[in-house]
């Protein structure tokens, strides 16, 4: 199982049904794609994330009916620093897909996915709590892990692992 080099060219990945569907929906919103270690990643623009998920879920050939995971990665000090990572799972096809959205540190806002999947509620609260990314349209965006009066967002890279904040 030697590692194959990753395919990072959107042109080469155009034939993948997931990429084709998103390009047909809104070609300007798909900013990149990657196929690495047998996992497909698609970068989309933040304004398009809810529509993209809706399309991936309702497209009869794809049927990504389930949100498996939602998290975030902080690339501080690089900008745009946040990458919100969605893992979608297709229950009929038994396939995973990774969607990514880049967000700048100064304006870390993104549409909530709770209208599509009510189960995104806890995941988004967790990302808000630990990274400080805000989800517009979330019904109850409050801290979930840390105490109410906590200052700062612990999983940010400029937050120290030990010692004083």
């Amino acid at each position: 199982m030697a590692l194959q080099p990753a395919i990072t060219d959107l042109e080469q990945l155009k034939d993948r049904p997931e990429v084709t569907a998103l390009l047909a929906l809104n070609a300007a919103a798909v900013t990149g794609a990657k196929f690495d270690r047998n996992e497909l990643t698609i970068w989309v623009d933040r304004i398009a994330v809810r529509n993209a998920c809706q399309e991936l879920r309702s497209n009869p050939g794809l049927q990504y009916t389930s949100l498996a995971d939602l998290t975030c990665v902080d690339w501080y000090p690089r900008e745009p620093r946040f990458e919100v990572v969605y893992h979608l799972f297709s229950v009929p096809n038994k396939r995973y897909l990774r969607l990514k959205v880049r967000l700048s540190g100064a304006d870390a806002n993104i549409d909530s996915l709770t209208p599509l999947w009510p189960g995104a509620n806890f995941f988004e609260r967790e990302v808000f709590d630990l990274f400080g990314v805000r989800f517009d349209g979330h019904p109850n965006l409050v801290r979930i892990m840390m105490p109410e009066n906590w200052e700062g967002h612990p999983l940010r890279k400029d937050y120290p692992v030990e010692g004083y904040r």
Binding site: W117, G119, M146, P154, V161
Partner: protein
């Protein structure tokens, strides 16, 4: 007290209802789960879980550790199925490295992973039955669980925090006679399951408390991100062991129990059936256990055997290097979902090419499954909440990380 946070969803203007606090020290919330119940008489109008009491920042700590140092942390997330967590993390890092595990290592992993499932389901069955009022089953379950824990202790030196799976294989060969002991336990185990079922499955008190309680439909369960037995009891046939086989599960024959009913009793039946399936997988693993090495041949990643370390210079150097500097992992990211006893346990590991993971995220099944509690309980009686919590089988360590 900062967690005391009933404000966001409750409406104080109406005085028809009362807010009842349940937990975090309540014995039937299976850990430190706090629930705020808005009740109208005995009927639940709204239910709000409050979690985070066990949050220890494991994801943050992982970023400061070498790849191999993260393994013991994973045990402590879901303390009822340590090996499943070890497995998910090791598989994720192995996928990043492109490392192949020899067949014996894979079969040992399957065997111990299924023993872990038995262990976890036994704790669930015992505590769930005790919540409903059947004390005896608890004692029986813990009797058998003790046997499993002794097997774990023999193989890894620890009863609960095993850290037995390492990146590149398992930490060491099981001791002499361990397979016979395991076989003896597994041969006896089906009769033990019969024993539990005799006490519960047709027991009218148990059945009346469970049947038709805390119903959730397949659509709701998928929308609420429920996985594992909670989802399968609602009629969705997903089991990652069969659908996306990992660590050699494609070599084993087993059924995936599914029920279309969607109530607490269906979840009970699914899990008990899973106990029997796990026993079958373990037996197959014991019978077909291949010979050969149990660790991958990757000296830069896998610690050398003790004997080699004392006789070969290279092995000593590699050992020193791995322990002091760790090993680097090629850049990339991986999401590794596996089927834990509670549902989909996924590890998202991002590597930036150094010896420490850039980001480790655990998608824990308890955290996601807990969200379905609201749909299950609203409009039902307070007494049913206890049955519902037991039926989704949460572990708060897993939930809060």
């Amino acid at each position: 007290m900062a967690h005391m946070n009933p404000t966001p969803v409750l409406d104080p203007s109406q005085d028809q209802t009362m807010v009842l606090n349940m937990g975090p020290q309540h014995p039937s919330t299976h850990g430190v789960l706090r629930l705020l119940l808005e009740v109208d008489g005995e009927t639940i109008v709204r239910i709000m879980p409050d979690i985070g009491f066990l949050h220890t920042g494991i994801e943050k700590t992982c970023e400061a550790k070498f790849y191999q140092q993260v393994v013991p942390m994973t045990d402590r997330i879901d303390y009822l199925c340590p090996m499943t967590n070890n497995l998910a993390y090791c598989l994720a890092v192995e996928k990043l490295l492109g490392l192949e595990i020899p067949p014996r290592g894979q079969w040992l992993r399957v065997l111990l992973n299924e023993l872990t499932r038995i262990n976890s389901h036994l704790v669930w069955l015992g505590t769930h039955a005790m919540d409903i009022g059947a004390m005896t089953v608890f004692l029986y379950c813990f009797r058998e669980r003790e046997d499993v824990l002794r097997l774990f202790e023999a193989v890894s030196g620890q009863r609960m925090m095993t850290s037995y799976f390492r990146i590149g294989g398992v930490s060491m060969e099981p001791p002499l006679g361990w397979f016979d002991r395991t076989k003896k336990f597994l041969t006896r185990f089906p009769s033990n399951i019969d024993e539990y079922e005799n006490l519960l499955t047709n027991n009218p008190i148990f059945v009346n408390r469970l049947k038709g309680v805390a119903y959730i439909s397949a659509e709701d369960a998928i929308a609420l991100c429920a996985t594992g037995p909670t989802l399968r009891a609602s009629g969705v046939d997903v089991d990652l062991r069969r659908d996306l086989p990992y660590t050699g599960y494609e070599n084993f024959k087993f059924n995936v129990p599914v029920s279309k009913v969607g109530d607490v009793y269906a979840r009970y039946m699914v899990r008990v059936a899973e106990l029997r399936e796990s026993q079958k997988i373990c037996m197959q693993a014991l019978e077909g256990m291949p010979e050969g090495p149990s660790k991958a041949d990757a000296p830069k990643v896998v610690l050398p055997d003790r004997e080699k370390m004392k006789t070969q210079m290279e092995a000593l150097i590699y050992h020193f290097k791995i322990v002091t500097e760790g090993f680097t992992v090629p850049e990339g990211e991986v999401y590794m979902p596996i089927e834990s006893p509670r549902g989909e346990m996924g590890y998202y590991v991002v590597s930036d090419g150094t010896a420490k993971p850039y980001r480790v995220h655990m998608r824990s099944p308890s955290f996601a499954n807990l969200q379905s509690l609201r749909t299950m309980c609203e409009g039902r009686l307070i007494a049913d909440v206890v049955a519902a919590i037991g039926s989704i089988d949460i572990v708060l360590g897993d939930c809060d990380r």
